[in-house]
Amino acid sequence: MSESIKKFMFVNTKAPYGTVYALESLEVVLISAAFDQSVSLVFCDDGVFQIANNQNTEASGMKNFSPAYKALGDYDINKIYVETESLEERGLTLDNIMALTYEDEDDDWAEKPSIIPATRAELADLMDEQDVVISS
């Protein structure tokens, strides 16, 4: 389909509920998987709450779409960066984040973690390497 592979990075900065940014960002990510590009995700600022464990939206009347993140591995999206400073600033640790995984086809389909903790400075370098950065 495409003549070249580009590096796409989707940067999620907003809390999952209250606005539709998180859900609509996830929709772009899932579509992008169909284009055989190199896709990575970043969760930073309040965006880290998008992949927090044990989400329950029942009282708010909003749809809990967080189970969809678990499907990212099936779409070959397995570079999911979480900014460590953002976690720290919100009193969170990696234990509060969903243990997203993928099956590595080059390693007999072994299940491996998709979550990669990264510092603000490391993410700045990673963003510099991308062809397309889409943030919301």
């Binding site: 169909a34 062809d131 397309v132 889409i134 919301s136």
Partner: protein
Amino acid sequence: MKFTLLINEGPYQHQASDTAYQFAKAALAKGHEIYRVFFYNDGVNNATRLAVPPQDDRNITENWAALAKEHELDMVVCIAAAQRRGMLDADEAGRQGKDADNIHPAFRISGLGQLVEGGIQADRLLTFGD
């Protein structure tokens, strides 16, 4: 250079669409190419043909429509984001059993694949919004 523009905020209450419009005009004047303008999130509201802003103010939708006509711009509104916000063209209104449509004919509705493809085809994808 070939640009795709992504506009993520609605008209008048955010600067994104105005800034993108001024950028597009300036880039085209300098001989650059706009491969596509993609409207997402509340950005889809820029495509309403029913807005009636005061006459002494700019009409954002008509500005885009005029620029698109002059330069044959491909202006795409995300169908899922549009439907969520009550933005329908005549075909969609019929399909969804709604009694009205409101998308300006200068815009077309399509899927998110058009955004990703815009990112692949362009030299730069520029996001306008928060």
